[in-house]
Symmetry: C2
Subunit: 244 residues, 2 copies
């Protein structure tokens, strides 16, 4: 669900950008599970102030991205709203094998990311429309190798908390191993959400074989711990996490 | 998609009622196609002013209805919104045979409804929470008999316009044959949306065999025509439809 003013802002992005971006983020869930996009449903609440061009722009942006996988926007719904626009997307995909769920993560596995993090935070700060590219092909390959992946919708650290909550296996993240996108601070890299990159966990050899950059490992303790002097000094205590 | 202030109003219904009602209306689409409920996804944008009790009440209302078919609310999403609440529901179901689409309607078929219409308009006028019962079992039976059905989400007349737009077959509706719910006017019966009842079309013998009340027939002309002196006098011209 994408809410105007929360997830997108037509003050500094076009409706096309907002449509693209929303569908791209929804497809991030499919990418994380190694699924090929099948179809999408789009429900839209339209504010009175919107123009027909804005509504059709939003759909154009979605169609432009969906077309890459011949993914039909197979249905949906439209309503008026006395408030901000709300776009609700449901996407369905298909995998060749059952993807691992977060609850199946085991302690002692390596944690890796598919690329540098923080690009979304940098784009947001610069009020620059950022056409996220969902990593459908990478996600398929990584899942087929047997890795357990998640999208980074709420930041890397938050993502590892989800793994911990569902599997019981926490994490130690080596902050200095987390590659940063151009212009991104360490805080951006660790906390920026709505990232295109995926985080994957699995046995160390499997992760190395996949060509990913290791940033930490899972542990028997349910906590998510950050290692790195720079972090202690930049005040990451407000996450309520132990810094070593 | 159900928008607070458009589709539900917590000023005179509980959050449980709103949740029930929204899921019931979403299930109306499955009922129309003869599908057994499978699973639902619920995405919710929550206004700052809502209480935890309201959020959980909304889900309770949905769960109470979903439980009838052991239908899991299998996932979803939640976001904040600076505006009215928005609930977006996706429901999936399964049919034993392919249901007929609206585009498959043929001229000369009978049009029938499953029961009296206008109850939703009466409830709305009285600001009375109205727990719509989705006609899942009736819908299954009618589809298995071979009828082509639709839910009445935007009123009977509007529904026949959808049939006309998709099949090329318009309708003649005999207004005096449309049974009215208690307290409903003829206008209510013809235009009230968010009804639980279904409208079905099919060969006359099939419709009679199904035990439905015939209210008109489909015609080769794409127009939707209303027959009944009372209609001409109550000003149905504003629909842009020819009254005979």
């Amino acid at each position: 669900m994408f809410v105007e003013g929360v997830h997108f802002d037509l003050g500094w992005m076009t409706a096309e950008d907002a449509g693209w971006r929303s569908l791209a983020l929804a497809l991030g869930d499919l990418a994380a599970k190694g699924a090929q996009p099948g179809w999408a449903l789009a429900a839209l609440a339209v504010p009175k102030g919107w123009t027909v061009e804005q509504v059709s722009g939003l759909y154009s942006g979605m169609h432009a991205l969906a077309g890459r996988w011949q993914m039909p926007i197979a249905g949906g719904d439209m309503s008026a709203i006395d408030g901000p626009a709300v776009l609700s997307l449901t996407v369905a995909g298909r995998t060749s094998k059952r993807p691992l769920g977060r609850w199946e993560a085991r302690p002692g596995w390596a944690i890796a990311v598919t690329g540098p993090l923080g690009a979304a935070a940098v784009a947001l700060r610069g009020r620059r429309a950022h056409r996220v590219e969902p990593l459908i092909e990478s996600g398929r390959r990584l899942n087929e190798l047997g890795l357990c992946c998640g999208d980074i919708s709420d930041g890397l650290v938050r993502e590892m908390e989800k793994f911990a909550a569902m599997s019981g296996a926490g994490s130690i993240i080596q902050a200095d191993l987390v590659a940063r996108a151009a212009g991104a601070s360490l805080e951006d890299a660790l906390t920026s959400g709505e990232e295109a990159e995926l985080v994957c966990v699995g046995p160390r050899d499997m992760v190395l074989g996949a060509g990913l950059s290791i940033v930490g490992e899972t542990i028997p303790d349910r906590a998510v711990k950050l290692v790195g002097a720079s972090l202690q000094s930049t005040g990451y205590d407000h996450f309520g996490r132990a810094a070593q």
